[in-house]
């Protein structure tokens, strides 16, 4: 809802709404847009024209006609409007180019000798320059979205702590902006994975969602609350990995004991079925197929611990769906245990436990959303820079 405003803000909001529809739902005819937004045809004509002038959308003429009536052009986002994404990990940096609308255009994995910030930033910047070296320039680059495995203060893009990278108090967006000349935004990687899943994957259209993801670097997550992303006061929200599932249990690197991340780690599960970390994608089937009593017992034990965290989230968030990803999804698929056998009855009845639907592109799509959300907030504004 509006919180008071001028007619100009109203106009911007209409631009934003239409662009968002096109970005999230794909191409639509003007008539469709008119119906979806609930405005008049003439208003929509003005909005579409303005978005065209901004170079954000394009209108293509029909290939095959539907039925009776005047054939309608199709409005779609301009896929040459792009966001750069960067995802530093322990052994490599992933750099991507994502078009408005969500298509991944380019993707590179750059091995890094070490995780030193200067090294990572300069390698990323060089890769970005390479990706954008078309002459004449082909893409309209709006900015860089950074997905960091650690706590990120979203207000200024400082990485407060990223244990696995050995980073602490790194002004990452500033460094990237300085190295590339592009505006940048950063957020926690697990949160961004959820963002992608929420927009395109298993959480599409779900207004109240809890997301839990497990990987080599621990367990993270996020939540969508009433259609809005849960960020917390500074941006550190969603650390489900440090939910206490075993008071006084295994020490965790966070300083506590018995955290989900410490009790249900990927490495132990991989080792139990003889897989290396490169084969994490096959963990689910191997756990399920294994008849080894030790593996069965391990799955039962770890599932029970996961169930504690799931139950807590269920009771607190009353979500419509809980989406599991990474080794948590594998564990759930291999286990007989009903993760929501307990908990507040009213909340249990309507919730659905799902596995994540998106694969590798998840993080790039999520990181690009950081840029898109700036664009969508004020389509005319970001381009003015």
């Amino acid at each position: 809802m509006v919180r008071g405003g001028t007619t100009e803000q109203l106009r911007r909001a209409n631009l934003s709404r239409v662009l968002e529809l096109l970005h999230e739902d794909g191409p639509h005819s003007r008539a469709d847009l008119t119906r979806l937004v609930g405005s008049s045809r003439s208003t929509m004509a003005g909005v579409v024209t303005e978005l065209e002038e901004l170079g954000l959308v394009a209108e293509s003429m029909p290939e095959l006609t539907g039925g009776a009536g005047r054939p309608s052009g199709v409005v779609s986002v301009n896929p040459d409007v792009v966001a750069v994404t960067v995802n530093p990990e322990v052994d490599a940096v992933h750099v991507g180019l994502v078009g408005l609308g969500g298509r991944v255009i380019k993707h590179a994995r750059i091995e890094v000798p070490d995780t030193d910030v200067t090294t990572v930033v300069s390698l990323a910047a060089a890769t970005i320059r390479g990706m954008l070296s078309d002459d004449p320039p082909r893409y309209r680059v709006l900015g860089v979205g950074l997905a960091v495995p650690g706590q990120v203060r979203i207000s200024d893009g400082v990485v407060r702590q990223a244990t696995h990278l050995g980073w602490s108090e790194v002004p990452l967006t500033d460094l990237i902006t300085h190295a590339t000349g592009l505006p940048a935004w950063a957020a926690n990687a697990a949160t961004l994975a959820m963002r992608a899943e929420s927009r395109l994957g298993a959480g599409k259209g779900v207004a109240d969602l809890v997301y839990l993801i497990g990987g080599a670097s621990g367990v993270g997550g996020g939540a969508v609350v009433g259609g809005h992303l849960l960020t917390g006061s500074a941006g550190y929200a969603g650390e489900f990995g440090h939910t206490v599932v075993t008071p006084g249990g295994t020490p965790c690197h966070c300083g506590g004991r018995g955290c989900l991340e410490a009790e249900v780690d990927q490495a132990t599960l991989l080792a139990a079925v003889g897989l290396g970390s490169a084969d994490a994608g096959r963990l689910g089937e191997r756990l399920k197929a294994s008849g080894d009593p030790e593996v069965v017992a391990l799955v039962a034990d770890r599932s029970a611990r996961l169930a504690v965290a799931v139950r807590n989230a269920l009771n607190v968030f009353n979500p419509q769906a809980i989406v599991l990803s990474g080794h948590l999804a594998a564990l759930h698929e291999a286990s007989e245990l009903d993760l929501i056998a307990e908990g507040v009855a009213s909340s249990r009845e309507a919730v659905e436990i799902r596995s994540a639907a998106l694969g590798d592109e998840q993080l790039m799509i999520g990181a690009a959303e950081l840029v898109w959300s700036e664009l969508l907030a004020d389509p005319a504004g970001l381009l003015a820079r």
Copy 2:
């Protein structure tokens, strides 16, 4: 922000914004409002005039003048615009009359022979009729806000389950509307207590807040996320009382084991210092003053369990403040334990643990907010009924 709309919606939004400011922040001059909203003086003149015509605000002339310049009239909400509040409990029903702006005008506690729904509703309806029996009518009643100790489906006001009242699947708002002729809305009592605390008390102005309240009927809570209330997909969110703090611990009436509500109950603490449930208000001081080693040990033990729930909430929500109320506040005040000694470091540094600031009127103010939120969403709309 606007999600697309007409100029009329813009107008409504401006009405809403101004009324909300007056409701939450108290009286303001037109000049103040102009600055706060960021509009022009002429626009504000129109908005205030319309709100006056709707009978929602009144303008009073200055008593004492501030400084130089033309003296300004003060715009304030009309306190005769009221909401009725009803809060059924095990032994009594509380009925209140709350004016726009948040002042409690009337309050009655009606003892009930049993918690049978029909009995409770008819007693409440009779009390309401009595409160509104002025001739000519003095108050403009917008509706009834119901605070229920249990799970309430907010979409239709059905009480799914209220263990302590023995209620299950009770269409409470329908019953109240039928008995009183007034529109009604219902929600969980703990959530409404938080709502009051968030607007007027220890959580005022805090956009990211977690609230935990303990009382005779268990432990509940709620959260404010990015300035919005956490309701969940159906309205059952905020059940922090069923956060697992001791896996496999004390059985809880929810069917699980080791819930916060089962492990840290009010009765045990009261009994330890020889208090009855009527003296719950003095629990904090008694726990603190007691030198009895058994009491000290009890406080330490229960605090540690509370700390698990607090830590989970901290990690997941990254709130600006965590507000404790009821016996959880008493426990915290009596304990030496730092509730946030553990957890994700970045989230710990900025959070503040506070005790609730509001007393008895908490629930009435919170329940009235249910009605106010309907009014504020569309000031002209609700009055049209």
